[in-house]
């Protein structure tokens, strides 16, 4: 056991570090929601692509570097030390474009991979629907052949929780092409031009007050058959590739035990200083053990990558630990502030109302990218090998599946 880099890792890290020192911004800019911030993000992505630091693991034939996973990880670690612009490319480069590379046709690969890698075009993922969040295969957005015999498709329906739709150029879209067969068999994937007038993007006003996601409406959107990604009816298999990438991409966060300890030291309880409260101390230990266990589990994953091995299933536990942890930390800290805890004004609330903000964003963390419950099902079925639940929607035509309304 040794936490230091191998000579090869150290050499790559040194190279990345000196490139970043020469090229990375030194001051925090605006985020990608802001047009100027988006422009900065695109410029930064182009710079990285030109230097071989974008899509490090992608094959050379598509303009990637053909590098190893550990190189991508080392670069990401080093990049995180700089106030680089927001990353609106993550969904495209992490999920959508890999899907095109795996299942798209030759012309699409030639057309899309390069511009995405250079940050010239941004992608979003159009999967979840009001009637299917956890149950993605229940998609109802309909795609039917145009009656004119052109082979084109006409798409109608609604997607929801689409990150970045407001500034995306393209999206990958799961549609229902055949409601007369069981649900997993009647899906087909397309790519769509987000600038098409038949697509309407509306921001979702979240309970936290922010608007990071959108609803996307399709009204008689016409797409070419050549925009199909994979075969007709093969959309579920194609989207599994995308979802797998998503679950790997969404990790964890910090535990904030330090901030809670500092806060507790400055607050009085009936037992004296808050930090002397036995129940709080026990919670701090619990949080620390979980956050530290997760940090160390990531080091195990990193070790597997560094050895050129596939990480074990332990890589999948991040979000199911972090999200409920953050909610508990936030709730405990707010409770520690007692009556004052109700105040969300950053000028008045301790630590600029950080814990109040976390309290209000935590429910989203427990849901986005797979709910706690879905993630536990995945661990139980894919890691532990437990049998699937009994499915009442299997071997039933999609149109005959009960919907509850």
């Amino acid at each position: 056991m040794d936490f230091n880099d191998t000579p090869e890792e150290a050499a790559y890290r040194a190279k990345a570090r000196s490139w970043l020192e020469a090229n990375a911004p030194k001051r925090q800019g605006r985020d990608e929601e802001d047009p100027a911030g988006l422009k900065d993000a695109k410029a930064w992505q182009l710079k990285k692509a030109a230097a071989g630091y974008s899509c490090i693991t992608w094959p050379k034939e598509w303009g990637g570097v053909g590098g190893a996973n550990w190189q991508a990880q080392v670069f990401a670690q080093e990049e995180s030390n700089y106030p680089t612009p927001g990353n609106p490319f993550q969904i495209g480069l992490g999920m959508c474009v890999p899907t095109i590379m795996t299942s798209g046709n030759e012309a699409d690969k030639q057309r899309f991979v390069g511009p995405a890698m250079r940050g010239e075009e941004i992608w979003c993922q159009l999967f979840s629907e009001p009637s299917g969040g956890s149950d993605v295969a229940a998609a109802r957005t309909r795609a039917v052949r145009a009656p004119d015999g052109s082979g084109d498709w006409i798409i109608n329906g609604q997607k929801v929780w689409t990150s970045g739709a407001q500034f995306s150029d393209f999206g990958i879209l799961v549609t229902r092409t055949d409601p007369d067969v069981p649900k997993h068999k009647g899906l087909t994937m397309f790519w769509v031009d987000m600038h098409d007038a038949a697509i309407d993007v509306r921001p979702i006003h979240q309970m936290s007050g922010a608007s990071g996601f959108n609803e996307v409406y399709f009204t008689d959107l016409r797409v070419k058959d050549s925009q199909r990604v994979g075969a007709v009816g093969d959309g579920w298999r194609v989207s599994l590739v995308t979802l797998m990438n998503e679950r790997n991409a969404i990790g964890g966060g910090a535990s904030y035990h330090r901030q809670v300890m500092d806060l507790a030291s400055s607050i009085a309880t009936l037992a004296g200083s808050g930090i002397k409260d036995a129940a709080l101390r026990e919670k701090v230990a619990d949080w620390y053990v979980q956050a530290e266990g997760l940090r160390l589990t990531r080091l195990r994953t990193q070790t597997a990558l560094s050895r050129g091995q596939t990480p074990g299933p332990e890589a999948s536990i991040g979000k199911v630990v972090t999200a409920p942890l953050m909610q508990d930390v936030a709730n405990t800290a707010v409770e520690l502030e007692d009556q004052f805890g109700i105040i969300v004004d950053p000028a008045l609330a301790p630590l600029s109302a950080m814990f109040q903000a976390t309290l209000m964003s935590a429910p989203g963390m427990r849901i986005a990218g797979g709910t706690d419950e879905i993630l536990k099902n995945i661990i139980a079925e894919r890691v532990l090998g437990l049998p699937q639940d009994v499915r009442v929607d299997k071997d039933v035509a999609f149109k005959d599946i009960p919907t509850g309304r």
């Binding site: 056991m1 880099d5 026990e282 990193q302 049998p387």
Partner: protein, 371 residues
């Protein structure tokens, strides 16, 4: 980045697993459980000594294998997994570690080769009454090299040849080595939650005691010893927790209720997924403790506390939920679920409970935050 065991260490672990699967099936554990006169498996103890495992981290100069604590950790995991009913922890994690930590050259030469050869069983006698180990707990006294007082519970105290004893001398706490075969020692076997391990009450009335380490350093040494043991015990706990999970998983797949495997119900799936997550976090923290122990890193106190808390809670969770997954059959004597349920308690208490270790952990964090 290399945060994993080496191929050689993994090979050793696989060898240990194979060996214990052959020599220590649960029927051997039950043989100790069911026989009130038996408090360990003497044959297994000899065989384990024959493998050289007792001397894994003992330098070659003292008759050991001269490997390291990482190798000892992988063996510990397999012993925990097998529920091995032998005084390995008492002899190796406590007696041998105490000698390595504080022993004089003469003491090391006298005892370490015997430990490595399996000729000596050790134990650690610290507490005397309910509650966490504090200075006020300790009333046992040494005067003129003679120890008097009572220690309980002492794991493996009924079979040990020599004890590391925490006692007062001149008003200050020190550690002492006491041979238990000599005059002035009375032992009484105690009934415990886990009868697969022996526990005794030791009563000393003028037993010969030889100081181990500096005078007055008893409590600090005891705590340093507990930190080292906590890491090694965490591996036993992780081994047991993983096996309890495998048992629950196997049963959830084969047991049908309402026409389908109970493992297809989300109530069972989520329970088992929770066990898996806790076990993996505990394993990662145990690895970190192993690194800190092996390298003598200044992170050891925090890493040991973290490993101890995580492993104690993971094992308890895995053991109780494995039993619950089995339903009624899990509550019977004939089913092995209670072996894990008992051992989780034994290992969770033997070096101090999780609650006290959480307090130690927070004190370490306070120290770090202040630095």
């Amino acid at each position: 980045m290399n945060f994993d065991f080496s191929d050689d260490q993994k090979f050793l672990k696989n060898e240990a697993r194979r060996f214990l699967e052959g020599r220590c099936p649960t029927s051997k554990v039950r043989a100790v459980l069911d026989d009130p006169a038996k408090s360990y498996d003497a044959d297994l103890w000899k065989e384990v000594a024959g493998q050289g495992w007792l001397g894994t981290a003992i330098p070659e100069a003292y008759g050991g294998l001269g490997l390291g604590h990482l190798e000892l950790c992988v063996i510990a995991e397999e012993l925990g997994r097998a529920l091995a009913p032998i005084p390995f922890a008492s002899t190796v994690y406590f007696l041998a570690e105490a000698l390595l930590l504080a022993g004089s050259e003469a003491q090391k030469q006298a005892w370490l080769p015997k430990i490595a050869a399996g000729e000596v069983i050790g134990c650690f006698a610290s507490v005397e009454r309910p509650g966490v180990l504090t200075e006020a707990q300790v009333q046992a006294k040494v005067e003129g090299g003679k120890l008097s007082g009572t220690k309980l519970p002492v794991t493996d105290g009924d079979i040990a040849d020599v004890a590391v004893v925490l006692a007062r001398e001149g008003g200050r706490l020190s550690l002492f080595l006491v041979e238990l075969g000599g005059a002035g020692v009375a032992r009484e076997t105690l009934q415990t939650l886990d009868p697969t391990r022996g526990v005794a009450k030791l009563t000393f009335s003028g037993a010969a005691a030889e100081r181990l380490g500096e005078a007055g350093e008893g409590l600090a040494l005891a705590e340093a010893l507990l930190e080292r043991a906590a890491v090694l015990l965490a591996f036993e706990q992780v081994g047991g927790a993983d096996r309890a999970l495998e048992m629950a998983k196997g049963y959830a797949i084969e047991r049908y209720a309402f026409g389908r495997p109970i493992g297809s119900y989300q109530a069972i799936k989520h329970k088992l997924a929770d066990i898996y997550v806790k076990n993996e976090l505990a394993r990662s923290s145990a690895y970190y403790g192993a690194w800190a122990l092996e390298t003598g890193a200044s992170e050891l106190p925090l890493a040991a506390a973290s490993a101890r808390v995580s492993a104690s809670e993971a094992y308890w969770n895995a053991a109780k939920e494995n039993l619950q997954t089995h339903g009624g059959i899990g509550f019977t004597w004939q089913m092995d679920c209670h072996l894990f349920y008992r051992r989780a308690q034994q290992l969770g208490l033997v070096a101090g409970g999780a609650k006290a270790w959480k307090e130690r952990l927070v004190q370490q964090l306070e120290r770090r935050n202040a630095a």
